[in-house]
Amino acid sequence: MKGIISTSVAILAGLIVLVGYFFQIPILSDLRSLILDWAVTLAAIMVFIGVLNLLSVNNSRIKNKEKNGFYSLILIISLLVTLILGLFLKPGHPIMNFIFYSIQLPLEKSLMALLAVTLLIASINLLRRQPNLFSIIFLGTTLLILLGTVPLPFGELPFIGDVLRPFIAQVLAASGARGILIGVALATLTTGLRILFAADRPYEGK
């Protein structure tokens, strides 16, 4: 019974939103807006449930005395301190800004810097992992784009900076990217239709 109700709600909501997009019928447009508003509210509730999941998983790591459980303790303390401060001081307060700009942001930036190093090593290993023509093209293109973009003491490299790099970036890469995005859009369409036909029902675990 639960399955029939959830499937019916999903199909009905999907159809109303879809038909409301194509046909400007006042009652459908109102219903569509209402359903989208509900979706936004539900998404906010999901964040709360997600945070509870995060707390529960890390709490069980501490309880079971798992390896590196200490980090879970730090996570829970940080989460609770930030939550309590945020509730009392409200976002935008200097202390909240301090937490964001002095802890969260530098941590994420350091991971970004780590990623740059990781990618450099991955590029070096690419030919070992996938020794084929496409890897050579990939690395060659990366090198040409870098050479055409990087600031050099003697100025821009002739031909590479003003002809080759714009041609690769604006013609070859842009057309390839559009092709990939069209493929992704078509697949998104059929994925949406499968949900609408209830062939995929993630809300029921199917």
Partner: protein, 248 residues
């Protein structure tokens, strides 16, 4: 209804009709698709994980279901269900991580349904589905210890990932574990192409569940995509030709 909305309507309605038609036709025949070596290696990795009692790690990315990236998340959930079914004979259930709360909740539902079907209603450990962070890098940094500490031998990244996925790919390589990765995000795909063992490009992301386990509807959706692709190719060529002769 203006022209662009009309074209969109014809595209959606036509696709829906084709999808239903192909799904009915494909119930009687077994589909044949081009071989993608990554999926053959995935099947082997799953087999190895089941045999040696290790775990699969399925990462679903950060695709908010209320955004266009939601489709990548749904494709990941569909693949998770099939992977959970395939490993149901293993002692250890897969671990699903996500950076989006709705995906975390749905992945818990998916894994629970698979587990209870396999065990006939046994107790499901909900900690297998985890939200590891809400920003791109906090999500990845929350998922990294799982690769190291949870006896993972195969990682499947299916969903919406940005460049941060490079850190997960690097961690998988350091642990000598299998990694199949697919993202709907272009910079994410570029990073995964350079760093992942088995990268999937473009719409291959949405074909994962069909390649893992055939169902008529999934097979039909791949056939519909092929037809739509040809329609678009012909339209683009025709449009270019008309423009060239000055009729457009």
């Amino acid at each position: 209804m203006n022209w662009s909305v009309l074209i969109a309507f014809v595209l959606v309605a036509g696709s829906a009709g084709l999808l239903l038609g192909f799904a009915i036709l494909k119930r009687k025949s077994s589909p044949s698709f081009r071989e993608i070596p990554a999926f053959t290696r995935l099947h082997k990795a799953i087999g190895r994980a089941v045999e040696d009692g290790s775990r699969l790690h399925v990462s679903l990315g950060r695709g908010n279901l209320a955004s266009p990236q939601g489709a990548a998340g749904l494709a990941g959930l569909s693949a998770l269900r099939r992977l959970a079914d395939l490993t149901s004979t293993s002692d250890r259930t897969p671990i699903a991580t996500s950076g989006e709360p709705s995906l975390a909740v749905l992945s818990q539902d998916v894994m629970q349904a698979s587990f209870q079907e396999a065990t006939g209603g046994g107790h499901f450990d909900a900690s297998g589905a985890r939200l590891t962070g809400l920003t791109p890098f906090s999500y990845v940094s929350g998922a990294l210890p799982i690769l190291r500490d949870e006896h993972i031998t195969a990682n499947i990244l299916i969903g919406s990932f940005g460049v941060e996925a490079g850190l997960l790919a690097d961690a998988a390589e350091r642990q000598n574990s299998f990694l199949l990765a697919a993202s709907d995000n272009l910079p994410g795909q570029a990073v995964l192409y350079a760093s992942a063992q088995e990268p999937l490009i473009g719409e291959e992301l949405y074909a994962v569940s069909e390649y893992i386990n055939h169902t008529p509807m999934h097979a039909a959706s791949l056939s519909v995509q092929d037809i739509l692709r040809w329609v678009l190719i012909i339209s683009i060529l025709l449009g270019a030709l008309l423009k060239l002769v000055g009729l457009l």
